[in-house]
């Protein structure tokens, strides 16, 4: 393991000092101070009848104060602002140890892991809430949720956290931050400080949404439909603000990754050679850069509607405006979640089969066309409230989008055909993901047909459909990717029997749970109901049992991966025989990734006779990255690197 060099700050002698406060605690403290300052100020200038200490306007300003305090406390102050203003700072980037994951960092690998860590936290919280929801739905009357508004708030928190703090974050902020620079042979990202700050907006967003019930229950679910949202208690303010923080974080990721791919590709890594996973990330990053500002603007307007109050969306006669603006973002959002998964399929399959990727250009074209069409289909979520004359065009584009989506399948099938593939755990997850997404996609064809949609819209058919697409694509491929890259992330590997057993249990539990959602929907089960007619109980009861097994299976996988991360068997440097650049450095990669700048000299997806190793590092680099590092614990690649290892600051 590389023992990285630390560059002592020149100029000031290390003075004796008492141990600093853990940054996370300092961030909490500063956030509390920020909240109190601004909230009290607003209450003083804008009191409300009865003088409550917290009102809608005061809590919005207080939240802004808390968010700023949190970011300053976590590192914005001493790692960014002080140096920026030319003041001395005690901050030094930590190079190793667990502590660096709990403070401000600029290494994209640390940031990537922070994103994954927070995303998994969001997944566990939202998943726990899903278990409570399923418990409630075991009976046709209210049980653990005393009031329907509690249940509806739970549905809203579940959906919001799953979408904005997990589905959008794990693959892009997490895997994207970690692997995009490695896969393009870059040694760091372009906006590394901004990125290091941005990741700390994720816990802000998760906690904000989670604690929204403190301000009152909200009933809209994750879509925040107006004019209902205008009636909800102040809890909905924390939905807007939490999503604002989470989307801001993801926006920073998108900006950083697009800039990095544009400016930091290794020599020889042309756009034509760009790894598929990176193509997937770039296309969704562009979608995020286009649509996240749009939804943020919409949410700010909805927030102002509520606290000022204004009438952007709540005025009589204009309730569809908000719906349009929401889905204008909302449909691209589902592709933001799914496209990285398609890219992962065709990243892992050629490696496991040691067979050239079939129709690479089609796989890429598919991703890009999905990205472009995704902005043309939003109103398929509105067939029940759209003008009749607008239904057919949106139905047309919706049906057409399945064509480029199919290209991901075409490439995968072409590659696997007559191959000899290793059916190991990552591969199994990928095949399962292809199966699940197939069901998600085919049930979507029914929904794209307006006459059928008018019956199935807002029923459990839709709930089944989107869980199949989201979990099928992003969660199953995400597990595949983590098992695939575990040796890279931790230098360790897992046990095939355990890995496969867990995968199969998850697959069965998932399908037994969600396939029945389709039947429930056809049988008249509508969404957002904690109480329903009694004839639907038997199936709901049984679905809940499978849902609990599914929850346990997800938890089991996460725990097992965590266990292997620390205690798994030592993995080889390139255990799968992959050709993409991330495998041409030690595992985990050192700070600045590669001993020397690697060069790409061939296609990353060609295997078999006459193909060459596509990544070239100098002989010195090869030596440094692999053999020396594993033998000499004091080894530091900076010592070997001609330019001092790219340490510039």
């Amino acid at each position: 393991m590389a023992h990285a060099m630390t560059v002592p700050e020149s100029g000031h002698a290390p003075r004796p000092r008492k141990a600093p406060m853990p940054p996370v605690l300092r961030a909490f403290l500063w956030a509390a101070i920020g909240f109190l300052l601004l909230n009290t100020f607003v209450i003083a200038v804008d009191p409300f009848r009865g003088h409550p200490f917290v009102t809608g306007p005061s809590v919005v300003f207080g939240w802004v104060g808390a968010a700023i305090g949190w970011l300053l406390g976590i590192g914005l102050y001493d790692a960014v602002l002080l140096p920026l203003m030319g003041f001395p700072t005690r901050w030094q980037e930590r190079q190793q140890g667990w502590r660096r994951y709990w403070e401000f960092a600029t290494d994209h690998k640390v940031i990537g892991l922070q994103y994954m860590m927070f995303a998994v936290g969001g997944f566990l919280i939202a998943g726990g809430i899903a278990m409570l929801m399923r418990y409630e739905l075991m009976t046709p009357y209210l049980t653990i949720f005393h009031y329907p508004s509690n249940y509806l708030t739970a549905v809203g928190i579940h959906g919001t956290l799953m979408m904005f703090s997990f589905a959008t974050v794990f693959m892009i902020g997490g895997l994207g931050n970690y692997f995009v620079p490695l896969m393009i042979g870059a040694r760091e990202t372009v906006l590394s400080k901004l990125s290091g700050i941005g990741v700390w907006l994720v816990p802000v967003g998760i906690l904000t949404v989670l604690f929204s019930p403190l301000l009152g229950e909200w009933s809209t679910g994750w879509r925040g439909y107006e004019p209902l949202a205008g009636q909800d208690a102040n809890g909905i303010l924390f939905y807007y603000l939490g999503v604002l923080a989470l989307t801001m974080s993801s926006l920073i990721v998108a900006l950083n990754l697009v800039a990095t791919v544009m400016f930091r590709r290794a020599p020889g890594l042309t756009w034509g050679r760009l790894p598929l996973f990176v193509w997937g990330q770039v296309t969704v990053n562009l979608l995020m850069l286009i649509w996240f500002p749009e939804i943020q603007t919409t949410f700010v307007m909805a927030l102002l509607d509520k606290v000022v109050p204004l009438n952007f969306f709540t005025a009589t006669g204009s309730p569809l405006t908000y719906l349009m603006l929401f889905w204008l973002f909302g449909h691209p959002e589902v592709y933001i979640i799914a496209v990285p998964a398609f890219a992962i399929w065709n990243e892992i399959i050629p490696v496991m089969a040691q067979k050239s990727l079939f129709g690479r250009q089609w796989a890429v074209i598919g991703l890009v066309f999905v990205m472009m069409l995704s902005g043309l289909v939003w109103a398929h979520h509105m067939f029940t409230n759209l003008r009749n004359s607008e239904i057919l065009p949106f139905s047309f584009f919706t049906e057409m989008i399945s064509i480029p989506t199919g290209f991901a399948y075409m490439s995968a099938i072409g590659t696997l055909w007559k191959s000899k593939v290793r059916l190991n755990t990552p591969m199994l997850w990928i095949l399962m993901s292809m199966f699940n997404f197939l069901i998600g996609g085919l049930t979507g064809v029914f929904l794209a047909d307006p006459i059928v949609n008018l019956q199935l819209h807002d029923t459990f058919w839709v709930v089944g459909h989107f869980h199949y697409t989201i979990i099928g694509s992003m969660v199953f491929s995400g597990f595949g990717a983590i098992y695939y890259w575990l040796p890279k992330l931790s230098g360790r590997t897992f046990n095939e029997t355990w890995g496969k057993t867990l995968a199969i249990i998850t697959f069965l539990a998932f399908n037994l749970t969600f396939s029945q959602f389709f039947l429930l929907g056809l049988h008249g089960m509508n969404r957002w109901v904690p109480a329903y007619p009694a004839y639907l109980q038997p199936m709901n009861f049984e679905v809940s049992i499978f849902a609990f097994i599914l929850g346990a299976a997800f938890l089991g996988n996460i725990l097992y991966i965590g266990y292997c991360w620390r205690n798994g068997a030592q993995a080889g440097e390139n255990p799968w025989g992959a050709k993409t650049p991330e495998w041409f450095t030690s595992s985990p990669a050192p700070r600045y990734n590669f001993p020397v700048q690697p060069e790409i000299v061939g296609s990353l997806y060609l295997y078999g006779e006459g193909t060459k190793v596509p990544v070239v590092t100098t002989a010195l680099g090869e030596l440094a990255a692999t053999s020396r590092a594993t033998q000499d614990p004091q080894f530091d690649w900076h010592d070997y690197a001609p330019d001092g290892g790219g340490v510039t600051s």
Binding site: L152, D232, L442
Partner: protein
């Protein structure tokens, strides 16, 4: 060559089995219980999609299973490396891309456009000259039904619940509005609801500030007691009362309907 043939044969066999399964499903009505002409359109479209998509589903699933059975190495073995691999196959790409375009164009023409044209035709004023008109008012959190042609402003069950009753085989024009007739001072008083009778196979949102129409003909005498899908249910979340925003519904014969109207009138007048 061997694999291609085996795969093709299996695909055909399983597709046929799948189609037989579809027949069984269709016989048992995949939408469980549908009793309106509009719902019949939805059901036909659903069945058509089911039948056409079955071979697609079988193709991909069979391929995934085939891969696991035929295209794998033994555990712990590396794939053989000394081969050249096709990275393109014009015929396969052409069939795939052309096929998916053709399939989606087909779906757009039928059932999408054809069914929508039928629905729009049902909605034409010319086709609706002798409709029964029912004003449906959605307010948080109840449905209020009135029959302007009969001078009934709010029809109720003996329990005091709002009740929708319709004669069988008579075209109905629903006039959908969302507002609170008792609290007109409040411009924010109401929200988007969705008027859904599961057994009619259609829902339309009810939007404050808009008047919307829905046309259909109930095709069987039935009621909530016969099948619980025969109920008016709000399908768009509208606040804490959303789960309870529902109403009983009965489809009756012409004579029974006439009697019911008389009884409701008597109730309203005294």
């Amino acid at each position: 060559m061997g694999e291609n043939v085996v795969f093709a044969v299996l695909w055909v066999v399983f597709s046929v089995l799948g189609e037989i399964g579809d027949r069984v499903i269709i016989r048992h009505n995949p939408m469980y219980y549908i009793v309106s002409n509009q719902g019949q359109l939805a059901l036909q479209a659903f069945n058509f999609l089911l039948v056409v998509l079955t071979p697609v589903f079988v193709f991909v699933v069979l391929f995934l299973v085939f891969t696991m059975v035929r295209f794998t190495t033994k555990r712990g073995e590396m794939p053989p490396a000394n081969k050249r691999f096709a990275i393109d196959n014009k015929a396969f790409v052409l069939v795939w891309v052309g096929g998916s375009i053709a399939l989606n164009l087909l779906f757009f023409l039928h059932p999408t456009t054809s069914a929508m044209e039928q629905m729009f035709a049902l909605d034409q004023p010319a086709a609706n000259t002798h409709d029964l008109v029912v004003d449906v008012t959605a307010r948080q959190w109840q449905w209020i039904f009135s029959y302007p042609q009969y001078g009934l402003t709010q029809t109720l069950t003996p329990n005091g619940q709002n009740l929708l009753e319709l004669p069988v085989n008579v075209p109905v024009k629903f006039v959908l509005r969302s507002y609170d007739p008792y609290h007109t001072y409040d411009q924010y008083a109401d929200v988007i609801h969705s008027f859904w009778v599961p057994a009619f196979g259609i829902k339309e949102d009810v939007i404050p500030g808009e008047t919307r129409y829905e046309y259909l003909t109930p095709t069987a005498i039935t009621s909530y007691a016969v099948n619980p899908m025969v109920r008016v249910q709000c399908a768009e979340v509208c606040g804490p009362g959303h789960p309870w925003m529902e109403s009983p519904l009965a489809v009756v014969s012409d004579q029974q309907f006439a009697q019911w109207v008389k009884a409701q009138k008597a109730l309203a007048n005294g």
